[in-house]
Symmetry: none
Subunit: 178 residues, 4 copies
């Protein structure tokens, strides 16, 4: 599974051959099929793992309020979120690869996280925009910034990133900096 994460992340789902995976894992093709019924199966197991971690993280999302404590909580949560993305970001991207019939998509899962975030916004100072859209937007933001961070195109510390993103999120939700 570790090899799977590595290779799917590097090449995307369709482009990775099970040969790539078994070579990296230093096992034989036969052994691969002893543990996974197919390439799809491995991918689905991986995705289930990510979805589950993402779901736990979602459950731990703090209430979002325009207060200093809430801000600190959000920053901490964002650090975890960013770290999850550091590990699984490219895998989640490859999950997005179109037409994987039946399987829940990365977008579905992120939609769920966005819904949770929406639900956590306790006070709405701004009546003029849909908090769900904002949530979606903000998660995308986290994801992308993390991607650039991972690829070395942005070189801030995780804590600094979390701070910047928390700023943007709180401004977005409450219309002014705390």
């Amino acid at each position: 599974m570790t090899a799977g994460v590595a290779v799917f992340s590097a090449r995307g789902f369709r482009a990775t051959r099970v040969d790539d995976i078994v070579k990296r894992a230093r096992i034989s093709h036969g052994t691969f099929y002893l543990y996974f019924s197919s390439k799809d199966d491995l991918f689905e197991q991986l995705v289930a793992e990510v979805a589950s971690e993402l779901s736990s993280l979602t459950d731990s999302l703090p209430a979002i309020r325009p207060t200093t404590e809430s801000r600190a909580d959000l920053e901490l949560w964002l650090v975890s979120f960013i770290e999850l993305y550091s590990k699984y970001g490219p895998l989640i991207r490859s999950w997005t690869e179109a037409e994987r019939g039946g399987m829940s998509t990365a977008e579905d899962v992120l939609g769920t996280v966005a819904d949770a975030l929406t639900a956590k916004v306790k006070i709405r100072k701004r009546k003029d925009f849909d908090p769900r859209i904002a949530s979606l937007a903000l998660l995308a933001m986290v994801e992308r910034v993390n991607y650039f961070s991972v690829t070395g195109q942005v070189d801030e510390e995780v804590e600094q990133l979390a701070r910047t993103l928390a700023d943007i999120m709180l401004d977005a939700f409450f219309g002014a900096q705390i």
Copy 2:
């Protein structure tokens, strides 16, 4: 090329067979190879087209200031940006699929747009965060929201989306609502 956009968008790069493309274009395999030297070649031409449109759009990005006029300009620009994404979003996503050796990546191009955006922010009220990160973040946001919009998971009008996103961007840059 139109058929190419359609099929690559629907199925992703690796998953589309040139047979899908020629069937949709109602031409033969032979004809396909008359105009494109390979499946990769078609994809690269498509990508070049998108990159070029994105580049033109980037050039037309207005100055970002905490004023009402600037806000209106930004909203208009965002409408164009969203529309470009409506057309090419899934293609850009499939562009991300795996290391496509040599070719400039979707991320590279978006990084350029982010740089342009950064340069357009004329007044910086907030000294505490990197405008480049903010730009990256905000574009990701636009992209994602658009995706949900295209797939029908969000059903606001383009204008309403542009308004919401402009709000978030200006708040992010200037720390307060105009």
Copy 3:
């Protein structure tokens, strides 16, 4: 036909595409098929031309005797033979490419020349070897030496080559230098 000789010579029969030929001749595919019913047809016409020239040359082969005059005649003839090979050598080689059903092969034609040569050897001083084998051998020799000459790996004048080859041939037939 000129383009055909050039391209078949350079790439061999199977490897040349009619596209190569029409590009070099600066005509269209349509025009090609106006004059030749197929790629095979062009090749066969070319081959017929070569076979005919070779046949004329064969007819002019002088009697081979261990005399100074005969030697001079043979040298002159070899000059013509070498020149024919300079022009058509690679084409004849590509003619050799196996399995060209029905068509007379390059080997058949060279066999005919060898038979003619055999018939021209008027006096046999050496009873211990088959003049037909010698003829075959000697023609091969001319062909090969010419090939190296054409490709610049041997840089003697045609006349010098003819002299050397005449020496070998006469020695071969009569067992001693004239």
Copy 4:
């Protein structure tokens, strides 16, 4: 590889389909590509093998002197050379087919053998001709005679052929029969 020799010999490089090879070898296409990365690759491996055998044979070439012992040695060597040609002759011919970029050509290799032969001629009674040309010429002769022998157009025993060819060679080099 055995199947490859057989089919390339019978049909030439371009004309043989990998389907011909796998059918003859009674394996699947997949298996073929397990061992050879392409049709070209198999051919190159075959060619390397031939070049290596030819090179060994070249190393064993005896010194050429106008003596009875030398003559016997040369005859023995020619038998080996003819036998090599019986096995690989048509393959070597198909090697000649067209520019096969990068790969050493059959002509290059034969040039090497000719150089070795030149170097082995210990005494030069005749100052009037280039031994390299003679060597080239003589090898061509062996090759061609062998071809006719293989195709049944000449039906002498290998030993008899070797004898005839040795005669021609020694006459050529020393200007008189031993």
